[in-house]
């Protein structure tokens, strides 16, 4: 032993801190850059300094006042679509996962495998069919169409994870309640729902964020500009302007990201639980 245990430990910690700092810089830099770009005067993508010399809120103001970018309307649209598809989607997901977790019926395993396989299908492959279907029902260019499609797809994504979680709630609780005369529905609302709050939050969050950032499908369905969601609007901004107005894009990006980041911050713990529950319990 040439170097003592303490010294080795010290070197190890120093190296770790150096790597961590480097990683943290790499993780934050782009985010910080777009945030600061949104306050930078002018339109250009590049600036010599990371921190702008003068700060301006004009890009944010332009987003909401400009007749070209109806950012306020888009924002409200997105919020509406995301909230409604989240609410319906959560209910549908819980219904399926409760049924699959607590009841034994003939085609149960088939149902589960089918859900899993269907969930793997590349989404926009079915877009043309859904597009024609919505056209049949006169639902093109409406928000209702998006809500229906997002909500109908929700059980595919969340059921198996939620079921994995529900499986961990002891069955004896149900049985005790049943002896006390509770119906299936009573058990669901009074025992299962309160106990699965972390899982519900996790599912709700993913179902909220999905519509919030989806642009492929929204772009296909929403035709008129005042019906767009923010994702479609931002995509259009980058595409039609060839990045010539980068600072405006940055301001929009900040407005989209901040609510989601706040949500993630609050729900970090639950997210970890959700990920691991999905991992170890299938």
């Amino acid at each position: 032993m040439i170097i003592g245990r303490k010294a080795a430990n010290f070197i190890r910690l120093c190296l770790s801190y150096i790597v961590l700092v480097a990683l943290a810089v790499a993780a934050i830099y782009p985010a910080l850059w777009i945030l600061l770009a949104s306050f930078r005067p002018g339109k250009s993508l590049y600036s010599k300094t990371l921190i702008p010399e003068t700060f301006t809120l004009s890009h944010y103001k332009e987003l909401f006042t400009s007749p070209v970018y109806m950012f306020g309307t888009w924002y409200a649209n997105t919020l509406k679509i995301a909230v409604f598809s989240m609410l319906i989607g959560v209910v549908l997901t819980l219904l399926t996962s409760y049924a699959l977790s607590r009841f034994r019926f003939k085609s149960r395993k088939t149902t589960m495998s089918t859900l899993l396989i269907l969930g793997m299908f590349p989404g926009f492959m079915s877009m043309i069919a859904i597009y024609l279907l919505l056209k049949e029902f006169n639902l093109l260019d409406t928000h209702l169409a998006l809500i229906i499609v997002y909500a109908a797809g929700a059980p595919l994504g969340g059921t198996l994870i939620a079921k994995g979680f529900l499986d961990t709630i002891p069955r004896s609780l149900d049985e005790a309640a049943r002896i006390d005369g509770a119906s299936n529905f009573g058990i669901f609302t009074r025992i299962i729902l309160p106990l699965s709050r972390p899982m519900i939050t996790y599912i709700a969050l993913t179902l909220f964020v999905g519509p919030w950032v989806d642009f492929i499908f929204a772009k296909l369905i929403l035709r008129t500009k005042e019906n767009w969601t923010v994702a479609v609007g931002m995509w259009d901004m980058v595409n039609t302007m060839q990045n010539s107005n980068f600072t405006l894009f940055a301001a929009g990006a900040v407005l989209i990201s901040v609510p989601i980041m706040i949500l993630f911050g609050f729900l970090q713990r639950l997210l970890v639980d959700g990920l691991t529950a999905g991992a170890s319990k299938g």
Binding site: L20, L45, L92, P122, L133, P155, G282
Partner: protein
């Protein structure tokens, strides 16, 4: 009278609900009768056309016709609309047949019970029975309906498209009709030189991409998680918070942003490199560097997820395993190799396979970052970084080669679904879930 069940069954087969009424279940019977009445009206006007539509895909194309001496465009059959309408009608028909069968079985069963001297249920009793014993199935009805029409129906539709010649320039309705062509599209894709060259090229890159992106994010995340979890590292929460940030930014934003950062001409990264006297790299315009860029950017997006996941697993590893290892004089590295790594691998293996399958279909990472570019002259409508999934998108939305896109989609689906099903059937929770309770 011992022939209730046969009579009730036959009556119900003739007209839904009659058997139930014969069994003196009037409300249920009337409900069934109403259903059949609606169904009859619907099917009489639609079913014939549906069979005609799905076999012929329309017979008259749009054409010019002389009306009072002036040539006028007469709209013909729109094959694709006909196909989807027929499909919907047939799906309703299948649902109706299932209901019809259930109605017969129900009448038969209750008839049998009456023969055994048990009175048939009243309506309230039936409702109670469903709530108590058929709860799961009735719970699944609503989500099942949504999935049937917004997932299964489109999938059937797309599979059917692969067997037609629905492609630009010669078979795009409403101007032209579409026909069934059998396996020709698949044959072209796999054998015909011009298509197969692109297909195998893109397939190879898709697999390389899926392996590299999964491995880099997984082990990157593991490294970060272990770094933060070391004994003696302070401010663990802060480090975690900082490194999670990329995960919280919507992918759409961060990928569009990265596209700007790595821009070869104006992008800050090359400008910084120039500042240090280095030549910029053609990040997104050179085939090789574009591939490197998507992998690197994907690490930035994906490492936080793996980090969270592995941190979660680390907390579940029992302390005493490490203590036992220490007693035996294990070094840090040995502790990692013998305790930590196997524990992590064991509990995240299913997620790892799912991430691999997900990366095969990682549309966003490629589409938003490079759009599949740079262009590859040897390829049929595909660029150097195109995955099968983005190629398929281009073929549908830009090129209108819908049949080819559907064929690729089916192949892609078989690959991915195979993986996930294999994975899922092997997980413990599927095989022995009742044992944990």
């Amino acid at each position: 009278m011992q022939r209730h069940k046969a009579r009730a069954g036959i009556l119900s087969a003739i007209f839904m609900g009659l058997g139930q009424i014969y069994n003196r279940q009037f409300i249920k019977g009337l409900m069934f009768i109403a259903v059949e009445a609606v169904a009859l009206i619907y099917f009489i006007s639609n079913l014939g056309r549906a069979f005609w539509g799905i076999t012929t895909l329309g017979e008259s194309p749009s054409r010019l016709e002389k009306v009072k001496g002036i040539a006028k465009m007469v709209p013909g059959d729109h094959s694709i609309v006909i196909l989807i309408e027929s499909l919907i009608t047939l799906l309703f028909f299948v649902l109706f047949l299932i209901l019809w069968y259930m109605n017969i079985r129900d009448a038969y069963k209750i008839g049998a019970e009456r023969e055994n001297g048990r009175p048939s249920h009243t309506f309230t009793q039936s409702v109670r029975y469903i709530l108590d014993y058929k709860f799961a199935q009735s719970f699944l009805l609503l989500p099942g309906f949504g999935i049937l029409f917004f997932t299964i129906m489109p999938i059937i539709f797309m599979i059917m498209l692969a067997f037609t010649n629905y492609a630009a320039p010669n078979h795009i309705p409403p101007a032209k009709l579409v026909d069934w062509v059998g396996f020709e599209t698949f044959r072209n894709l796999l054998v015909l030189k011009s298509w197969s060259h692109t297909f195998y090229g893109v397939l190879t890159w898709t697999i390389i991409w899926a392996v590299l992106s999964t491995v880099t994010t997984y082990f990157g995340g593991m490294l970060v998680a272990l770094l933060i979890n070391q004994k003696g590292i302070r401010f663990k929460g802060m480090w975690r918070m900082l490194l999670i940030i990329p995960y919280a930014i919507p992918q759409m934003i961060s990928l569009l942003l990265m596209r700007n950062l790595f821009n070869g001409q104006f992008g800050p990264i090359n400008q910084y490199l120039g500042f240090f006297g280095l030549n910029g790299l053609p990040w997104l315009t050179d085939p090789f560097w574009a591939k490197v860029t998507v992998i690197v950017v994907n690490m930035w997006v994906g490492i936080p997820v793996s980090m969270l996941l592995i941190m979660g697993v680390l907390t579940t590893i029992p302390r005493d395993m490490y203590e036992a290892a220490e007693v035996d004089g294990a070094t840090n590295y040995q502790k990692f190799r013998i305790v930590t790594l196997p524990m992590i691998l064991f509990s995240t293996a299913p997620t790892l396979i799912m991430q691999f399958a997900g990366n095969i279909n990682n549309f966003n990472a490629i589409f938003l970052l490079t759009g599949g570019n740079p262009v590859n002259g040897n390829y049929q409508y595909a660029g150097s970084t195109d995955l099968l999934v983005t190629w398929l998108y281009k073929l549908t939305l830009d090129q209108n080669k819908n049949n080819m896109a559907s064929a690729i989609g089916i192949i892609l689906f078989i690959i991915v679904a195979g993986f996930s099903l294999y994975n899922y059937r092997r997980t413990k929770s599927f095989q022995e879930e009742d044992m944990i309770q």
